[in-house]
């Protein structure tokens, strides 16, 4: 019977191929996600290991509260002599490695927009990890080197002038060297190297280091040296061996980018889920078409088990083959993913593509599992038919009992799914658990809808087919009737597209809501004329920018806002805290709950204003006290003097004075500056003047007015949306194959009918039109169901976000466009089947049984 399975596979090569293809695409996305992220992490490992070559011990500050900006506390330069005196130390040096920005002579930014750029100090020989491919190390003030990739991309050469901006106004330096770090591409990240004093000057870290790197004398192990140095250091200082430091950096990166793996795997799951529908449908149809063959085998004495094993054997071969091919295609997907991320400005480091055994095992297990499960139900169904009935049976419609069972199962599944979704949304489960519940709930709900959808095929086909019937009477009519002929089959085919479209509709609606919410938040909150912020939209800007702005004619008021992450003592929560200059009340409007602009103006260093939701969730009221833990270990306490609400994500849970933010939280840079122009001054002129000033001294900063601010935010939403669309595209491609496959199989069944139609005078073109419309109707059924599902999900998930100012809006035009696109997808899916159907030989078709 095994050989029968293989032979029957071979006899149905084309169909087996399309089924295999569904497995391939599903698995490829998953394998590709693994390969892609594994490669990134391997690249980071390589970067960290490479950059710590020769470093035995690293001394840095403890970092108790991780900052969104990624900045770490500095350590005092006064620690260096104590380390140098420690026995076993061959050489020790302070080092600076701080985010900054680089620009060429024209003022154009060097390096990709969202990629990190670091100002780094040179290290003495033995500790230095950058190799110079050209030029020499910077020897004094005014000299800098830059990494090879950045130099190439910006078209620079030795002797050119670049400007570097850290925390003081941009400085012009001469490019004297070109560097490279090991073999790894540092993926968009750029490093400018200057001497240590120059680095401290540029980053305003005089008397401070980001870390101290130590090389041990021969014969002293890093571990021993680490212990010796640790004894000399205060408690707030972290002493690690180079290896430990690299490992910690790696694991931090893994934590920070872990979401990337998760998100990609979610999309991979969607692709596989859609693929499962295609696999299930193909097996259902082929098995149904072979019922007579099975009946014949049964009358010849084959047992049920043998038939079952033969069908499962087929699916095993398809699953295994598909999974292995999928892994191969995964490499291609990994490359595409990298390009996709680069397209949105997120360059990530890479090395050679990494294939871990985990990737292979998981891919094969999942691919094979999905195929086997998808084929099991049709296989079981096929063997349950008595042999004689099977011999005579053409295609039997599902029994009434099965339809009832299906409906009951659909309703049960739907209720459970919805319940899980709602518990995830509104229940007390937090974070991952809630997301898991919601995800599983959504999957169950989708399954329920697809199980129920055969009932909906009739009315939906009538709805979708109506305009086609009006347009092309007979072909439209026949297309609709054919789509309705086997509702279960059409339903599953449509369900595959439904999933993709539900997600597309969901994110489209959600993005529209996000855009509107952002726009209204900007309108409500931002009352000034202009805003200065980092052009990447999230990094801080040097405090000098606000001072420079204040000096310009036409500028009446510059209010500044700073931010840091802190930990609420006695709770795990990590609120973002803000320091807002007292005069901000005019240009930056908060929704005051208790207190008012005067509260902000008179705020003292030991006082704080809390966001209402934050205060409520920690039982804090005006007059209460609380303590915050800073990144570097300070624990200032504050008295609550007011509460506010805001829809602006920039503002976190608490507002304190900027002095406290600088003293206890080490934050001296601005997140955003709000500017009001003087009465009578032309805002456009002031904006141009500001832009000029920023370009000269603070090129990382950009000046935008209210409209541009909204546009920038919208652009970010749109970019994210584009990325999601691209990731969902694969799931939709799979469903197109599903439609094509079902169509091809149905046409196969209807060969004689097509022959008759051609014999009595239907033209090839009419046959093509008929098939095309059938595909369009199927696609539209999927699209309508998907759209409804997407809307339901969007409405549900928007509920808990209402508190944060999220308002739902329905982009009707875009949703209609989606429907039209779905119709076009149907046309595309029908190309091959329609061609085949129209080219059928009339005589042969008529004689076909």
């Amino acid at each position: 019977m095994t050989s029968l399975a293989l032979k029957s596979l071979w006899a149905r090569k084309v169909r087996a191929l399309t089924t295999t293809f569904a497995v391939v695409i599903g698995v490829a996305f998953m394998a590709g996600s693994y390969v892609f992220t594994d490669t990134i992490f391997a690249a980071f490992d390589e970067i960290f290991n490479e950059s710590l070559k020769g470093t035995s011990v690293v001394v840095s500050s403890e970092n108790l509260v991780k900052q969104q900006s990624g900045e770490v506390p500095t350590i005092s330069a006064s620690l260096l002599p104590r380390i140098e005196r420690t026995p076993g130390v061959r050489v020790a040096s302070g080092a600076v490695f701080t985010p900054g920005g680089f620009f060429d002579e024209e003022g154009d930014a060097i390096g990709a927009k969202f990629s990190p750029k670091f100002i780094s100090s040179t290290l003495p020989e033995g500790l230095e990890s950058l190799t110079y491919v050209d030029g020499h190390l910077p020897r004094g003030p005014g000299e800098a080197s830059l990494d090879e990739a950045a130099v190439d991309e910006a078209g620079l050469g030795i002797g050119d002038t670049i400007s570097i901006v850290g925390r003081i106004p941009a400085q012009k330096l001469e490019l004297v060297g070109i560097t490279r770090l090991g073999n790894a591409s540092i993926g968009g990240a750029s490093i400018a190297q200057v001497t240590l004093p120059e680095a401290q000057r540029l980053t305003d870290k005089r008397g401070e280091f980001d870390q101290i790197s130590v090389a041990a004398e021969d014969g002293v192990t890093p571990l021993v040296l680490k212990e010796r140095i640790a004894k000399e250091m205060p408690a707030s200082v972290r002493v690690e061996t180079g290896e430990e430091n690299a490992e910690r950096s790696s694991s931090e990166i893994r934590d920070n980018l872990g979401f990337l793996t998760t998100i990609l795997l979610v999309f991979a799951f969607v692709a596989l889920f859609v693929g499962a529908f295609l696999i299930f449908n193909t097996f259902s149809i082929t098995v149904a078409q072979r019922i007579a063959e099975f009946g014949m085998l049964r009358t010849l004495g084959a047992s049920r088990g043998q038939i079952l094993r033969s069908v499962i054997g087929e699916s095993f071969v398809i699953g295994l083959l598909g999974s292995l091919l999928g892994i191969a295609f995964g490499f291609l997907i990994a490359v595409v993913l990298k390009a996709l991320f680069e397209a949105v400005g997120a360059n990530l480091p890479t090395t050679g593509l990494i294939l871990k055994s985990r990737t292979v095992i998981v891919s094969v297990a999942v691919g094979l599992g999905v195929t086997l499960v998808s084929s099991l139900i049709p296989a079981l169904r096929s063997t349950r038919i008595p042999p004689i009935a099977a011999l005579h049976a053409a295609l039997m419609p599902p029994s009434r009992r099965r339809r009832v069972i299906n409906a009951v199962a659909a309703v049960l599944l739907g209720v459970v799914g919805l319940a899980m979704l709602l518990i995830g949304l509104f229940g007390s489960a937090s974070g991952d658990a809630a997301a898991g519940l919601m995800g599983a709930g959504a999957v169950l709900f989708v399954l329920a809808v697809s199980l129920f959808s055969p009932v909906l095929v009739r009315p939906l086909a009538a709805l979708a087919g109506w305009p086609l019937e009006r347009m092309r009477r007979l072909t439209g009519r026949l297309a609709r009737e054919n789509a309705q002929r086997n509702p279960g089959r059409t339903a599953i085919t449509a369900a595959a597209l439904m999933i993709g479209l539900a997600l597309v509709a969901f994110v489209t609606i959600f993005a529209a809501g996000a855009r509107d919410s952002i726009a209204s938040a900007v309108d409500d909150t931002f009352q000034g004329d202009l805003v200065v912020q980092n052009s990447d939209g999230f990094s801080p800007i040097p405090p000098g920018a606000a001072d420079a702005a204040r000096k310009l004619p036409g500028v009446e008021l510059v209010a500044t806002m700073r931010a840091a992450e802190a930990k609420l003592v006695g709770s795990g929560e990590k609120p973002r805290i803000n320091g807002i200059s007292g005069d901000a009340g005019d240009v930056f409007k908060l929704e005051w709950k208790q207190g008012g602009p005067a509260t902000l103006q008179d705020l003292k260093d030991d006082q704080a204003i809390l966001k209402e939701s934050f205060a409520d969730s920690h039982d804090l009221e005006v007059g209460d006290s609380f303590q915050l833990l800073s990144q570097s270990g300070n624990e200032p306490s504050f008295e609550v003097v007011g509460t506010y609400d805001t829809q602006v994500g920039l503002i976190g849970g608490a507002i304190v004075t900027q002095d406290v933010l600088a003293r206890d939280f080490g934050q001296t840079q601005d997140t955003i500056d709000f500017i009001r122009t003087a009465d009578g001054a032309d805002p456009d002129e002031v904006q141009q003047r500001l832009e000029g000033a920023m370009e000269a001294s603070f090129p990382t900063a950009e000046v935008v007015n209210q409209q541009e601010l909204k546009q920038n935010q919208e652009a970010q939403v749109n970019q994210l949306l584009a990325l999601i669309y691209a990731l969902l595209a694969l799931a939709i491609v799979i469903s197109i194959f599903g439609i094509a496959n079902t169509l091809a199989l149905s046409i196969h069944e209807r060969t004689r009918e097509l022959g008759m139609l051609r014999a009595i005078g239907m033209s090839r073109r009419q046959v093509r039109t008929m098939i095309r419309y059938e595909a369009v109707i199927t696609a539209l059924i999927g699209a309508i169901l998907g759209m409804v599902l997407g809307i339901i999900f969007a409405v549900l998930i928007a509920q808990p976000l209402k508190d944060e100012g999220f308002t739902l809006s329905f982009p009707v035009g875009q949703l209609i466009l989606l429907l039209i696109l779905a119709g076009i997808l149907g046309v595309i899916a029908a190309i091959a089947p329609a061609r085949r159907a129209s080219r059928l030989d009339v005589l042969q078709s008529l004689q076909y049984e």
């Binding site: 026949l478 002929r485 004689r752 009918e753 139609l757 014999a759 009595i760 005078g761």
Partner: protein, 236 residues
């Protein structure tokens, strides 16, 4: 309709089979012709070529002065749609359409409106006035075949080709269908060409053509069913 020197060769070289080895004949308007012959005699091939469903290796078929053997696929499609009618052994109705819709199918394909009187008369004639909205699955085999005959007659084609129209019916239903074809010839002046292996069916025709090994071996009035049985014995 005139067929001249028709040959049809399938395959090449040693494996080549001559399904038709030079057949010439004509079909007069308003006559009912039956084609008989043992399996492999070429009777089906002859009909397929006459109906424009297959092309002869050599020879020509002319219908109303048009040489159909020279037409391309599009022209043949139109010819079949407008000038030919078909009745098949397996009825070949569309299961998704009602009886009446199936009758109207060729006209719908052509995008033409039916002549309502003609439609009424046909529905009456085939005896399905009370079954027009039934789907094929709700009709008996005989009823389905009568729908198929009505479908073939509705566009008043030059020729109706019937390919074993009784091959899948019991004797009562067969008789009904044959009566119907006879009636079409007698009352409506329809030209009918029928391939059959059923002597009783052939007996309904005005003329019987018999083929063997791709050649015309007999061409005369069929006489009774028993005559036909005797004739077939001599041919086999």
């Amino acid at each position: 309709m005139v067929a001249t020197d028709l040959t049809r060769r399938y395959g090449e070289g040693d494996a080549a089979v001559d399904a038709l080895a030079g057949v010439s004949t004509g079909f007069d308007r308003g006559r009912f012709t039956a084609i008989m012959g043992p399996s492999g005699s070429g009777k089906s091939t002859l009909m397929h070529i006459l109906a424009g469903l297959d092309k002869p290796t050599t020879g020509t078929v002319e219908l109303d002065g048009i040489e159909i053997t020279g037409l391309d696929d599009g022209e043949l499609t139109e010819l079949r749609r407008d000038k030919l009618g078909f009745v098949f052994q397996f009825f070949n109705l569309l299961p998704v359409l009602t009886a009446e819709e199936n009758m109207l199918l060729p006209l719908s394909i052509a995008g033409r409106k039916p002549d309502p009187e003609w439609l009424e008369r046909l529905v009456e004639t085939v005896g399905l006035a009370d079954r027009r909205t039934h789907r094929p699955s709700e009709l008996s085999g005989g009823q389905q075949q009568r729908v198929a005959v009505a479908r073939a007659l509705l566009s008043k084609p030059a020729v109706v080709f019937a390919d074993e129209p009784t091959g899948n019916l019991d004797s009562k239903a067969s008789e009904d269908v044959l009566q119907l074809l006879r009636q079409a010839v007698d009352e409506f002046g329809q030209t009918v060409v029928m391939v059959t292996h059923d002597p009783a069916a052939a007996a309904h025709a005005d003329r019987l053509i018999t083929l063997r090994d791709g050649k015309l071996v007999h061409d005369a009035a069929p006489g009774s069913a028993d005559d036909v049985i005797e004739l077939m014995k001599t041919i086999d």
